[in-house]
């Protein structure tokens, strides 16, 4: 998790638990991946806006695995070396759905409080 090793403004800005949800989302859409693969997908999906110390993925991966939301196994990677691949589990999918719904709700509330939506509306109306 970024909170384990915040090294950049972007990393420290990642809310507690958000990285776990992002990991679950990537595993759900892309299938089993190793740590490096997950890091690349986060980079691509965020348009390189979310930069984290890639090593900080591993405590999050271990946490997700420990909760039973993902399982890991050693397999041969594209390099020919053994890598630890993580795959989402059914409880992980359930948690992902809940976390996504929760995030949508919370982010909506926070947006309302910060006036992000209304400012956009005003700007849109002005244009």
């Amino acid at each position: 998790m970024a909170s384990d090793a915040p090294s950049s403004p972007q990393a420290s800005g990642v809310l507690q638990g958000t990285l776990d949800t992002i990991i679950l989302r990537i595993l759900d859409t892309d299938g089993p991946l190793h740590g490096y693969g997950i890091a690349r997908r986060i980079e691509q999906a965020s348009g390189e806006r979310l930069k984290i110390e890639e090593g900080s993925l591993y405590p999050a991966l271990r946490r997700v695995e420990k909760r039973g939301d993902a399982k890991a196994e050693w397999r041969q990677s594209e390099t020919g070396r053994e890598a630890r691949f993580y795959a989402i589990t059914p409880p992980g999918r359930k948690r992902l759905r809940e976390a996504t719904a929760s995030w949508a709700s919370i982010s909506g509330v926070v947006n309302d409080i910060l006036g992000v939506t209304s400012q956009r509306r005003v700007k849109g109306a002005g244009a």
Partner: protein
């Protein structure tokens, strides 16, 4: 990767460290290849890979906290439970000792023979006595009574004195040097008892 920080490590800890080392090495290798593909020199590629990854020791420590955190809590609970048990046993022993000393003190003030009192406390409430000689059913009998049996009762337990008995009872207690002889008729008449529990091995011989 870090060397083990504690001298004694469980297999689980060692396995985890090995897994983390392999995992990190794989990730760093791919990052290094990335940098090489972008045109970096070997040394620069390795340095940039390390910058992107962050401190492996710190990340490994964070992983250990995640994986072993629950186990450490179990260990802490186990230790706490044992401490509570040890404290309980210690307090019980202390209270028992105080009670013991008080009872000894009271006994002393009341003029009770401490040795007799200790014997009464530690000796079995049951005794045994072998009744042999001129009795109907010789054998060893348990004297599981709250108070000592009389000579006549003991002989009666063995079926009574035989017809040809001289009516003399010899007794010898195993737990003391006391021994003697008594007339069965006198013993019956006087309801003589031994005033103690015969210890195992005590013998009553009817002549």
């Amino acid at each position: 990767m870090t060397e083990p920080r504690t001298p004694i490590k469980s297999n689980l800890d060692a396995d985890l460290d090995t897994d983390l080392r392999r995992e990190f090495e794989h990730h760093l290798e791919l990052l290094r290849r990335d940098e090489l593909c972008r045109g970096a020199e070997e040394a620069l590629a390795a340095r940039r890979a390390m910058e992107r990854f962050g401190d492996p020791d710190r990340h490994a420590a964070a992983c250990r906290r995640v994986v072993l955190g629950g186990l450490n809590m179990k260990r802490a609970l186990f230790i706490a439970w044992n401490l509570v048990l040890a404290l309980g046993v210690g307090l019980s022993l202390m209270f028992a000792t105080v009670a013991w000393l008080r009872s000894m003190d009271n006994a002393s003030r009341m003029g009770v023979d401490k040795t007799a009192m200790l014997r009464a406390i530690w000796s079995s409430p049951e005794g045994t006595v072998e009744v042999k000689g001129n009795v109907a059913r010789p054998g060893t009998f348990r004297t599981s009574v709250s108070r000592p049996l009389s000579v006549a009762q003991l002989v009666e337990m063995a079926g009574g004195a035989a017809q040809d008995s001289q009516g003399l009872v010899l007794w010898k207690f195993a737990d003391s040097t006391a021994e003697g002889a008594i007339s069965l008729a006198d013993a019956i008449r006087n309801q003589d008892d031994f005033n103690t529990m015969p210890a195992p091995g005590s013998v009553l011989t009817v002549k």
